[in-house]
Symmetry: C2
Subunit: 478 residues, 2 copies
């Protein structure tokens, strides 16, 4: 028996890399696939035919999630060339797995009919997920093709906030009654013939859908067939409500090692379920978004977007950054007289600003994480702010002392060294105070503390650093 199964993740890693290599290093393949034949003529026709055959074989062999991943790693023209080769039956699943920006790029080039055909292979929960991201005119057309009950569900889901439990829950659940035996449950399951993906438990409800408990597949297998459901079920399951925040729920899934959990309404009636695979997606998205937002990239960033699109998605923060840098520059300009008297200030001031920005960003990163974990509570808030100020004071005295000494030695001016040290201590205190307050205040205002915090703290420590340093210099040195 071979060590690599056909499904080996490593083998598929290699196949994805090979596909990307073929489509990006040899422009002729993309051109031939999209029928731009003028370019093709200069190439060796035999080798080209071989390469195209290999691309086709790889596309046929790779499962949908791997194809979605490959599409994400291609520039737009190669992406569309590859998309043309994906069989109709796989297209729905590829769209499902693709990130939002790739998904939008792909459906832009599809006819309405092709798109509806692709969606046709999906089950209702998958359709609901994709419909939320369709252009408006298509949403209507897709809705029209659905039975009335499913249409009502799509509408219901679209009413929930995009980052809530309601938006990611699944409707397909297996429901059983409390008074039947495990043997009867097993006969029922065999009659059904299949279960929704990632089913690890069934839900026990009354006839009017009130949730009574949950029955793990394990429990069915471990107990005698004549036991009744209500004797062996978990009667106090962890439940969620559709309005809850998906990121918080993800932390509960992690804390309790859940694989799936029921979603109930305010009256305790079962609405659907959450599964760990949706939760893992939430976790990756949450953390990806946090990382990107802290550095001022938008969520929809497509790494392989063309120049024109990439420019647009980054202009927002660049403009904000330019404004804050401009304000800091005006602060310096206000001290033009001081600098002209003592040019050394110009070369020292970026140190004060830089060290403040560094400390402020460290503090913010820590606080944003602690907020996500719900570790910050009214009780421990004052401890945290005093601790941060204490750390800043010690760091300021130690590193400010060192820089003050170096400055004294470099410029042979003890007063300049003293101003340097004092400015560093003060700017570090400002940085750590604001590093705690900015994310806390943004959370109080109901905003995501990760978005733009970094830009704000840098603006404050730059402007503050220049002002403190040049201000102290004006007072003590002129």
């Amino acid at each position: 028996m071979s060590v690599f199964h056909k499904n080996s993740a490593k083998l598929r890693d290699q196949e994805r890399a090979r596909l990307i290599w073929l489509l990006t290093t040899d422009k002729a393949i993309t051109s031939a696939l999209t029928n731009k034949l003028t370019l093709v003529e200069q190439y060796d026709a035999g080798k080209l035919a071989d390469d195209i055959a290999e691309v086709g074989a790889l596309v046929a062999h790779l499962p949908a999630p791997d194809l979605a991943d490959t599409l994400e790693a291609l520039p737009s023209d190669a992406r569309h060339a590859l998309w043309g080769l994906v069989e109709d039956s796989k297209r729905g699943n590829v769209l499902l797995e693709a990130s939002e920006s790739v998904y939008e790029d792909l459906i832009e080039g599809m006819s309405d009919k092709a798109l509806l055909d692709a969606l046709d292979t999906l089950d209702i929960d998958e359709k609901i997920y994709l419909v939320q991201h369709l252009p408006r005119n298509l949403t209507g057309r897709l809705l029209a093709t659905l039975p009335a009950e499913e249409r009502a569900r799509v509408r219901q889901v679209m009413n929930y906030a995009p980052d809530s439990v309601g938006a990611i829950m699944e409707f397909e659940v297996i429901v059983i009654r409390p008074d039947v035996t495990l043997g009867a449950v097993q006969r029922y399951l065999r009659r059904l013939g299949k279960m929704p993906g990632n089913t690890d438990k069934l839900f026990v409800t009354t006839r009017d859908k009130t949730l009574l408990g949950e029955l793990a597949l394990q429990t069915i297998l471990l107990n005698p067939a004549q036991r009744r459901v209500n004797e062996v079920m978990e009667a106090e399951p962890v439940t969620f409500h559709p309005e809850e925040d998906a990121e918080k729920v993800a932390r509960t899934f992690e804390r309790d090692d859940l694989l799936s959990a029921p979603v109930i309404d305010a009256e305790g009636k079962l609405l659907g379920r959450l599964t760990i695979d949706e939760i893992v997606d939430v976790v990756y998205e949450e953390t990806d978004n946090d990382i990107r937002q802290m550095s001022g990239l938008s969520n929809e960033q497509d790494v392989f977007a063309p120049v024109s699109k990439a420019v647009k998605t980054r202009w927002g923060w660049l403009a904000v950054n330019l404004c804050t840098a401009f304000i800091a520059s005006r602060v310096i300009d206000g001290f033009e007289h001081t600098i002209s008297q003592l040019v050394a200030l110009a070369s020292l001031m970026p140190i004060v600003a830089g060290i403040g920005g560094n400390t402020g960003n460290q503090t913010i990163t820590m606080i944003v994480r602690a907020l996500a974990l719900q570790h910050i509570q009214p009780g421990n808030f004052s401890f945290l702010i005093l601790r941060e100020m204490g750390v800043a004071l010690i760091n300021g005295l130690v590193w400010g002392g060192i820089m003050g000494g170096v400055t004294w030695w470099l410029y042979d001016d003890p007063h300049l060294g003293g101003v340097m040290m004092l400015a560093m201590v003060l700017n570090l205190l400002v940085a750590s105070l604001m590093g705690v307050l900015i994310p806390m205040i943004m959370t109080k205002l109901g905003r995501d503390p990760a978005v733009g915090s970094s830009v704000m703290i840098t603006a404050i420590t730059d402007t503050g650093g220049f002002f403190i340093f040049l201000g102290l210099a004006t007072i003590f040195l002129l």
Copy 2:
């Protein structure tokens, strides 16, 4: 029926918050619990007794993962006071769920015997996990208490790299033979009476442990009892090897929606399994670490560490940052003559440096993520670098043009405006080139691209920005 089950995640959220509130706002509770009675005397004894009783009730009610989370959100003295209240039978599980820094803080204050008692309640896979983080002298003592077979396993796991599949895999698996019927499997399971946590499938092997396939619990329930295992099992499961990188494997779990997967050795023999709950922990750790490392915080950061410890964990990057800021400052100092001739340069130069740092950090964030997703391959690398340079050129011309115009207007000097624009274009090109190259080169060298990338790019764009701007000014304006 009440809408909140006893297990409701929301209720536990409230209980955790209440516990933190009690232990941090009223110092008397912590003091009383740790027998520092001098402080206690000034307080109302009746209220104190009530509060302590409430703390006790909450600790008794909350499950281990919630207690671990609460301990993480407390300063050290309150943390130890709370730890003293946790029952022996829960302590092992709390340690298992606690983050590394909290775990180390807690075991520091425990006697060897108390620690070994706590570990005694855990199963072998859990012991193995914790033993990896024990102080050396305790590892030996714990190993001595284990049967020979388990001892060998612990030694085996400790040989794998900490971020590899081997370090997080579990040994407890249920193994069956291919030629038995599903009915026989079910009788076998009932005899076993329980399954390891998060079991969604059994593993089918030969007598010498060669993996033949996997049998989902779903499959057992959905098929007739007389079918044989090898007729209905998945014969090509996704498998992993113990040396593989856990973060990469996590991406495969996400891509394939896996709940568990077999780990096999080079000969295809079953070693153990990976479960989704370990994978979710890996995902959270990976992304938390990325976020923290990019801003120069160490992994072991404990948000509620005392000042002395917090100072130490942040000195490394602060020192690096101070050095790079110092170098940038020396570059400016080299142009002292230029600045003394035209003081306006001092207020304009931070804009050039700042906008470069912003762009460089955006690029690095994008590249680090694309590397983690294995989206960057030799084939698409040149596209990526040209795209980034293209974006930088356009942004430089547009925003540099605007800033150049503003400078011209402010200082009534077209040449100064021209230098400003040219410097911004050049520094943005440097920023985006280095933003792609730094993480790529660090990956080539086998290092984590997230660690310190941000500090390096800022150093380059600061120093480069000052040098380019002041250099151009010296050439064109003096």
